[in-house]
Amino acid sequence: MPGDSLNVHLNNKSISQNTYDAIVVGSGISGGWAAKELCEKGLKTLVLERGRNVEHIKDYYAGTEKHPWELPHHGKITQQDKTESPIQSKCYAYDEVSKKFFVKDSEHPYNQVKRFDWIRGYQVGGRSLLWGRQSYRWSDIDFEANAKDGFGVDWPIRYKDIAPWYSYVEKFAGINGNKDGLPQLPDGEFLPPMEMNCLEKHVAAQMKSKFKDRVMIIGRSANHTARVGDRGPCQYRNKCQQGCPFGGYFSSNSATLPAAAKTGHLTLRPNSIVLELLYDKDRKRATGVRILDAETNKTEEFYAKVIFLNASTLGTTFILLNSVSDAFPNGFGNSSGQVGHNLMDHHYGVGANGIYEGFEDQYYYGRRPNGIYIPRFRNISKATKRSDYVRGFGYQGGASRGRPGNGNGIGVELKEYLTEPGVWRMGIGSWGEHLPYYENKVTLNRNKKDKFGLPTLDIDCEFKENEMAMRKDMMASAAEILEAAGLKNVKTYDSNPAPGFCIHEMGTARMGKDPKTSVLNKFNQMHDVKNVYITDGSCMTSSACQNPSLTYMALTARACDHAVNELKKGNL
């Protein structure tokens, strides 16, 4: 077994120095939660992060405090950025300041069997620094979907299992929202909601009067509309992705890692690339992990009673596939053969926008880092059943008085025209569910190595007929809504992004009831190896259409509770 031979050469002291109660791999949104929960429950916890350290606030000051004119390119990105990072630099959140939180594509290669835009942030906090912060609960419409239409395997949990954990994480994370009483989008423990501007209010009212089946609500986001502990409140700068010096939104760096550190039980080790899990086949337990120190290029082993994998969906998949032994020749805990399969993202980038003639005497103050949301309204009841596709989608969007486009001519007239706000515009874009297909997969390529000499990932994922049929409706319904609300010049668009680009990759180590067809049980515990838990996106059995991070948080807190109870009972 890998690891055993090395152990012989280590004296007992160094083994004990490298031994913890728990190891958490990854410090992003789910790893941060695992660290907090395990530490607060008294476990000596080692968090391994492959990237550099990023300290809350201190390490954000590399541009976010600057005015646009103080940046060489006034916030825009350069040809060099595009050359070094052709994929990351396409991301909506990538700018002259926030690029510090994205990997360089040139340094972290992967292989696109089909086009897949893999957006990554390798640092303490991971992508929790960059995330879109939209936070929505799932409902039983989502947890029952696989069982009802037969795609994928059934979720081993239902809404009632996770509802108290949603409440638990929302209270700490600080999610703003309005209680809207919708069955498909359960209410949560909210900070005060943000407010719709006057055109958004108008469209919401028009929708209410013109559609029986759909409503528009204010978005629910992890921006702190009131102070949460020592965080926030949000200052409405709308520069979240650069790191917020006000702690105005939830991230691992602002919230969970400081909470974990406060217990005195946390050891955070940046620059630690986990290569593989170590396994004791007699006990059928993981004993620890082997890492590569990204600075010294030396390997080292760490040991613990329980291990949480939170390295992001594809990062965790890499670790599992790279951990081969006699017991697990096809990857760690992969007796089902499902590890790496059923890769999902959301499909988005399709919608409509238009202008509104009116409200010229209305404006707004501040830059709200949140928009409106139109929750799913397809296939949620008999009356809303579609014959052309299963599942559904939601819309995010917003209205604004942009500065006028298409300035005609030049000179004083143009200048005056451009210094006043333009007409009101509104756009909505959709986020659609991606079904779990076994053949959408990620595998290890041992022939192509990265700069550390590690294998790379082959990603082979696509959207299929169901998604394509849904997209037609996503586009048509967007236009229908805006036109019904009285917008003019309504134009539809479909930018047709590749899988990955929605940055909601999930599903490659799914939860399920049956160890033969799934990797994790209903507590995110590996069927094959009981002291390994996986609570990042790879655990997801289906994708729903809501932004998934809040669900990762709730599943993580729930799994930590289970793990600590099992430890106490001596079951791990």
């Binding site: 005015h67 646009p68 004119w69 060489p72 006034h74 916030g75 825009k76 990105i77 040809q79 060099q80 950025d81 595009k82 050359t83 630099s89 396409k90 909506y92 939209q134 943000m194 407010e195 501007n197 006057c198 978005g219 200052q235 409405y236 700068r237 709308n238 979240c240 919608g351 010229e360 005497d361 209305q362 404006y363 103050y365 501040g366 830059r367 880092p369 928009g371 995010q396 969007g397 917003g398 604004s400 008085r401 942009g402 500065r403 486009g405 298409n406 300035g407 030049i410 000179g411 143009l414 200048k415 005056e416 451009l418 210094t419 006043e420 706000p421 333009g422 756009g427 909505i428 874009g429």
Partner: protein, 190 residues
């Protein structure tokens, strides 16, 4: 801010809906080409571009593009953010603009009066509009489109443009969803 909003807001801010939309959404054009490292601008080039920019956004009761150093900004953007194809269009465009001045006024652009500059650039702006109307996918961007968009971007994100021609509030501190607006009130800078 959600993603759609992010994209549309950038497009609106920069006034770019047709040509250059790709540039403004992504910062730069085609990712396939290397930066033209040899491209260089002289102080005369910057002075020339300052006057082009000032003609597009002149000084009024608020500073113009020249005071905002838009000429220098344009050169930085062309050097760092344009691919070689667009760099070439821009450089040749400076020559074309000067030639058009010579043709019309028998003097280079730097030697004609502000009124003549305005007259000339109105013509070129119209020419650009016609070009854009008939533009095929494989056609390049019109040079004046580049100059105009860089001027608007550079000016309205400059200290002079953002704080004087517009209203700039770096830390709003709150969100007021609906406030009264009367004609003549300036737009928010961001």
């Amino acid at each position: 801010m959600n993603r759609r909003d992010a994209i549309s807001r950038v497009a609106l801010l920069l006034g770019g809906t047709v040509i250059g939309a790709e540039f403004f959404l992504n910062g730069c054009a085609s990712p396939d080409k290397k930066v033209g490292a040899s491209i260089d601008f002289t102080p005369d080039d910057i002075a020339f571009l300052d006057e082009v920019a000032e003609t597009i956004i002149p000084e009024t009761d608020t500073p113009g593009a020249k005071a905002a150093k838009v000429g220098a900004f344009m050169t930085v953007m062309v050097k760092d953010c344009y691919d070689e194809t667009n760099q070439k269009i821009f450089l040749e465009g400076m020559g074309k603009l000067n030639d058009a001045s010579k043709k019309k006024f028998e003097k280079g652009f730097m030697s004609i009066t502000p009124e003549q500059r305005k007259e000339l650039l109105i013509e070129i702006d119209k020419e650009m509009k016609e070009y854009n109307k008939n533009k095929k996918k494989e056609d390049g961007t019109h040079y004046f489109n580049q100059m105009k968009q860089l001027t608007l971007l550079g000016y309205f994100t400059s200290e002079e443009g953002a704080t004087k021609a517009l209203r700039y509030v770096p830390v709003p501190g709150r969100y007021d969803a609906c406030i009264p607006y009367k004609k003549g009130d300036k737009a928010w800078a961001l």
